[in-house]
């Protein structure tokens, strides 16, 4: 069974600084995908970034980038130049390739951005 572990229940960062959120996962699949979703206080789930396991290059979306270590089954999210609007719960999620591809989520990391 797939599992996703986020070992940091809470993190804080100063505005304009950089923060890294950790995520590890376990899967026996060779074809899979990894995601980071953001959940602000409104509780809407918003996709931040996506990584295909077959791609060696780390995904980047503006200030958000990942460090994907396939052998270590690690998928951390780096937020650069943190902004007040980045404050939210961040969920790491895993999906198998093919079929219905349900998302399996970690427990989340609550990020606070201090002005």
């Amino acid at each position: 069974a797939q599992t996703v572990t986020q070992s940091q229940p809470e993190m804080s960062v100063q505005e304009a600084e950089t923060v890294t959120l950790s995520c590890t996962y376990d899967t026996s699949e060779s074809d899979y995908y990894l995601f980071w979703y953001k959940q602000p206080p409104s509780r809407q789930m918003i996709l931040v970034i996506r990584q295909e396991a077959y791609k060696q290059q780390n995904a980047t979306e503006n200030r958000f980038s990942v460090n994907f270590q396939k052998a270590a089954k690690s998928f951390s999210l780096k937020i650069s130049d943190s902004q007040l609007g980045d404050a939210a719960m961040y969920f790491c999620a895993h999906s198998k390739g093919g079929g219905s591809e349900k998302l399996v989520f970690g427990k989340g990391t609550k990020l606070t951005v201090n002005p």
Binding site: M45, G98, L103, F105, K107
Partner: protein, 115 residues
């Protein structure tokens, strides 16, 4: 930009009552999902739906739950006889194709409160 919509935003019901949560997925999407999030906990998969039938369901999705796509636009989750432990945020998601590289887009959620 197309988005998934859900109604109502908040539903309060008495234990034992039936509730129907409604979702309008993005119009050209083919795969549909329901997830739930009990307050303070991680997001959990309930069910996936494709081609007018359930593709996969979790152990949470017991006989009290059902899903339906009654027309070409709506996707509903019915809970036949609500229990206190059904209180949660319920998220609908949709995806364009069967490949996991396609992102699941989430609706804003329905907060269900069972009294």
């Amino acid at each position: 930009e197309p988005e998934v919509t859900q109604t109502p935003s908040h539903q309060v019901t008495q234990m034992g009552q039936e509730v129907i949560l409604r979702c309008v997925p993005i119009s050209n999407h083919l795969y549909f999902y329901w997830y739930r999030q009990i307050l303070g906990q991680k997001v959990e998969f309930l069910v996936s739906f494709y081609n007018n039938e359930i593709s996969e369901k979790s152990e949470i999705f017991d006989d009290q739950f059902s899903v339906e796509r009654p027309d070409g636009s709506n996707f509903t989750l019915k809970i036949r006889s609500t229990k206190l432990e059904d209180s949660a945020m319920y998220f609908c998601a949709s995806k364009a194709s069967g490949g996991a590289s396609d992102t699941q887009y989430f609706g804003p959620g329905t907060r269900l409160t069972v009294l």
